[in-house]
């Protein structure tokens, strides 16, 4: 557990990282560094996207699995790690 906490702290300490959200597949938020409302907002919006992405991958090749989704926008980048049980979102403002 402590390792996990450490790594999360490190991720947060990197330049440009605005927040990290960890939620399980149902959308129940496990951990978040942003405030509640924006966390819920994020999770609610990302979840259908993840479902759709998972279906896309599975449809094209049933043995394949979705691992990451990166959403690069003008202002920041959302990196979403997806798994069967959970997903994790990191929001980073790139320093470029």
């Amino acid at each position: 557990m402590s390792e996990v906490e450490e790594i999360m702290k490190r991720i947060l300490s990197h330049k440009g990282v605005e927040g990290v959200i960890i939620a399980n597949t149902e959308g129940i938020i496990l951990r978040s560094t942003l405030e509640d409302q924006s966390t819920v907002h994020h999770v609610a919006l990302v979840q259908p996207l993840l479902m759709k992405a998972k279906k896309i991958v599975q449809d094209m090749d049933p043995e394949d699995e979705l691992t990451y989704v990166r959403l690069r926008t003008e202002k920041n980048e959302e990196i979403i790690a997806a798994d069967k049980d959970y997903f994790m979102i990191s929001i980073q403002t790139p320093s470029l």
């Binding site: 399980n24 597949t25 496990l30 449809d59 049980d85 994790m88 990191s90 790139p94 470029l96």
Partner: protein, 767 residues
């Protein structure tokens, strides 16, 4: 009196008329042989007093055969429920066919009733109530059995229909009724109107036909015939309403996707099991299951379906709390975290890493800063006039490593992205515990593997055969092997701390080398060789009883030169010959049996595996301890040596004097490294500066110089393979990566120039 019995089996219109015959389709021909006395008075109400509840206006007829068996035919219509139990109740024909009395049915078998019921329903307007009566009557018990009519004996006799007056006889006695078997009822008999031409009456038929045809022709004018039209009555249609339960319909649809089919194929059992488990244990899960059952079949919209899919995918999850723990502790989560960190870091350092790898650095279109774009592919002409410089890219530093002195660095042999750095500090007299960090180029801000060592680390080397094995040499003389694929405690797979023959002095260099086995010259087993301050060059093996070593050679002091004493150790051990610390070793790149060592004596010896007693050659040039020896990868016979006498010497294997010598500052040279990319480039680190020499551009001066920050001494240098970068480790615990810019080295046409350069220099150099 013979009565033509014409049972009327037709529709309602015939109710009550027993004598009317139909359209000729009903024929009752008598073939009956049985004499049955038939006493009936169709207009009498027989035994009305006796029959309790038979219909008073109806006639009751009872039929007995010659053997006094009651063969009263069953009523074809339903009879009244309430019945007398009398066996001899007379019944009328009307009763038989049209009554609603149920007494007859009381005694009959179900089968009989069933058949008669059919008849009943066909010619009587039977309401359901009546049929109910019928059915009810079926269940009543038999009061008098009806027997089937036995096949009559072949005696023809007419049926005497005796109409007797009832009051004459005792009703109990009954009448004698003679019954004959009726003939076969032909219900429909349409005789064919076609006969064959060969038949008997064919002629007559033909004649009649001809007559008829003629007659038809003459009909028009004939007075005998006139046309008349009639009107047929069309019965009034009657609507009948029937009410039933509405068949409710439910829409069901499903979407078959290829992954859905694959999932059902692969995990049919799991879904069932988890369903049960959920049902048993968890409240929440039952709700999910219900949703699943409902939702999985009906796919109304896309969003509903996705929601259902999501429900299905989390059938396994229990509650939120245990979820969290399970997730967070799971390995895949930690992997995700790891990659996430890397991704975030790479986002930050993307331009630097691109420069490191020689990729064109893309300018961020949304960036508001102005950044100079690094030009990687500089043409020769363009850069001719630009001075070679070093551009700082980044520094490997993490909070654990800051402040520690870096003593050695090495790349992994298989994965060029992995860098091992050894930290150790013994300048303060008492050596502190050391550290080994394995950095990855993918995560520049945190070392992915950190192994603390009990003593300061002096040297490192990765194995080539087992790329996960890292050999570490320490200040207290121990040699350890770490498996960097494991984390933490299990990583150290060998440690020579407890070995009896371990080094007593600091291990100054460890190196993995391929040893050629004696038996078969082709097998290349890898051995770990270490050199240490006790003058021993030892080969380490992982034997069954542990980590053990075999001395390859013990380097002794050569007597013909006056040397200062090595240290206290020599004086104590008077028995042994004085040994000199060996500071460095390097193996010949192609001939694995040959190696060169550099000693504290300022001498370098060429030795071989097979000869452990003597050196093959001795190279004398330096007058201070030789700190590093390295063979060139491009020229197998050329090696470079550096020493504390401020010089770097370039040697060729069989030449006893160096070919070239490089001096720049008056500072001991701690380390040198050839460039893995170019044969002419090497880097050297002095205490306060780092120099990169490019022999193709200048042999007198270093091409690029980097000064250390004040307060920091540089300890180690490394050049990256495939990349124009130099890594410098300093005493502050940072490994700084610099890019060599504007170097013209590495061009193909200059490959042979080292030989040319060497030959261009005058043959012998003076001291």
């Amino acid at each position: 009196m013979e009565k033509e019995m014409t049972p009327t089996l037709l529709s309602n219109s015939f109710t009550g008329t027993t004598n009317s015959s139909g359209s000729g389709e009903f024929k009752v021909s008598r073939r009956s042989n049985q004499k049955i006395k038939f006493a009936a008075s169709l207009n009498h109400n027989n035994n009305s007093d006796k029959s309790s509840n038979s219909v008073p206006h109806k006639k009751a007829i009872k039929v007995l055969d010659a053997q006094r068996r009651d063969v009263t035919p069953l009523a074809l219509g339903p009879t009244h429920l309430e019945d007398p139990q009398s066996k001899k109740k007379p019944l009328s024909l009307d009763d038989l066919f049209f009554n609603t009395g149920a007494n007859i049915f009381k005694s009959s078998s179900v089968a009989d009733v069933a058949s008669s019921r059919l008849f009943c329903s066909s010619f009587s307007s039977m309401s359901t109530m009546e049929s109910g009566l019928l059915s009810r009557s079926c269940k009543t018990e038999d009061s008098f059995p009806l027997q089937d009519v036995t096949p009559p004996p072949p005696v023809h006799s007419a049926v005497p229909l005796e109409r007797k007056g009832l009051p004459e006889e005792n009703p109990d006695q009954g009448f004698d009724v003679t019954l004959t078997e009726t003939d076969t009822f032909s219900l429909l008999d349409i005789s064919p109107t076609i006969i064959s031409e060969d038949a008997e009456g064919a002629e007559a038929v033909k004649q009649r036909n001809i007559h008829y045809a003629e007659f038809c022709k003459s009909r028009m004018a004939n007075d005998n015939y006139s046309e008349r039209s009639t009107q047929a009555f069309v019965g009034e249609p009657k609507t009948k309403h029937v009410q039933t339960n509405k068949n409710s319909s439910v829409n069901k649809s499903t979407t078959a996707t290829s992954w859905d089919m694959y999932d059902s194929l692969c995990k049919p059992v799991d879904a069932g099991e988890t369903q049960e488990a959920d049902q048993e244990d968890y409240f929440v899960s039952t709700k999910k299951e219900k949703d699943k059952a409902e939702g999985s079949l009906s796919g109304d919209t896309g969003s509903t379906l996705t929601f259902v899919v999501e429900m299905e995918t989390c059938v396994d999850s229990l509650t939120a709390e245990s979820d969290q723990d399970k997730i967070v502790l799971s390995e895949s989560f930690q992997n995700s975290l790891l990659v996430m960190e890397r991704v975030v870091v790479l986002n930050i350092f993307q331009p630097m890493l691109a420069a490191f790898r020689g990729l064109p650095v893309l300018k961020d279109p949304y960036s508001t800063e102005k950044k100079p774009v690094a030009m990687e592919q500089s043409t020769e002409d363009k850069d001719w006039f630009l001075t070679p410089t070093l551009e700082r890219l980044w520094a490997f530093a993490c909070p654990l490593s800051i402040g520690r002195n870096i003593t050695s660095m090495t790349w992994n042999k298989r994965n060029p992205d992995i860098l091992a750095v050894g930290y150790g500090d013994w300048s303060s007299g008492s050596p502190k515990p050391g550290l080994v960090c394995c950095w990855s180029l993918k995560n520049l801000m945190w070392s992915e593997r950190i192994f603390p060592c009990h003593s300061s680390v002096t040297c490192l080397d990765f194995s080539a055969n087992n790329p996960g094995q890292l050999a570490v040499g320490m200040y207290d003389g121990s040699v350890a092997i770490y498996n960097i694929q494991a984390k933490n405690q299990v990583a150290c797979i060998a440690n020579s701390r407890d070995t009896s023959k371990r080094h007593q002095q600091p291990v100054w260099q460890v190196i993995w080398t391929k040893q050629q086995l004696q038996l078969s010259g082709e097998e290349r087993d890898e051995v770990l060789v270490s050199v240490s301050g006790d003058g021993r060059i030892t080969k380490w093996l992982m034997l069954s009883d542990g980590f053990n070593c075999i001395d390859l050679m013990v380097v002794k002091r050569i007597q013909d030169r006056k040397e200062k004493p090595k240290g206290n150790q020599e004086k104590i051990e008077n028995v042994l010959l004085p040994v000199t610390p060996v500071l460095c070793v390097d193996f010949h790149p192609t001939d694995a049996g040959i190696y060169v060592i550099g000693t504290w004596d300022a001498r370098m010896h060429k030795c071989s595996f097979s000869n452990s007693a003597h050196f093959l050659d001795t190279y004398n040039k330096h007058f201070s301890p030789v700190t590093q020896v390295e063979w060139s990868r491009f020229y197998p016979d050329v090696f470079l040596s550096c020493s504390a006498d401020w010089t770097i010497q370039l040697w060729q294997l069989d030449t006893m004097t160096p070919k070239m010598s490089f001096t720049s500052v008056q500072s001991p040279v701690d380390s040198i490294k050839w460039s893995p990319n170019c044969s002419m480039v090497f880097a050297a680190v002095y205490r306060q500066r780092m120099e990169v020499w490019d022999l193709s551009s200048s042999i007198l001066l270093p091409t690029a110089v980097h000064h250390a920050e004040p307060g920091v001494t540089l300890g180690s240098v490394l050049l990256a393979k495939g990349s124009d970068c130099v890594l410098v480790g300093d005493s502050g615990g940072r490994v700084t990566v610099y890019k060599l810019k504007n170097f013209r080295a590495g061009k193909q046409k200059q490959v042979n120039n080292l030989d040319d350069i060497m030959q261009a220099v005058p043959g012998s150099l003076n001291d």
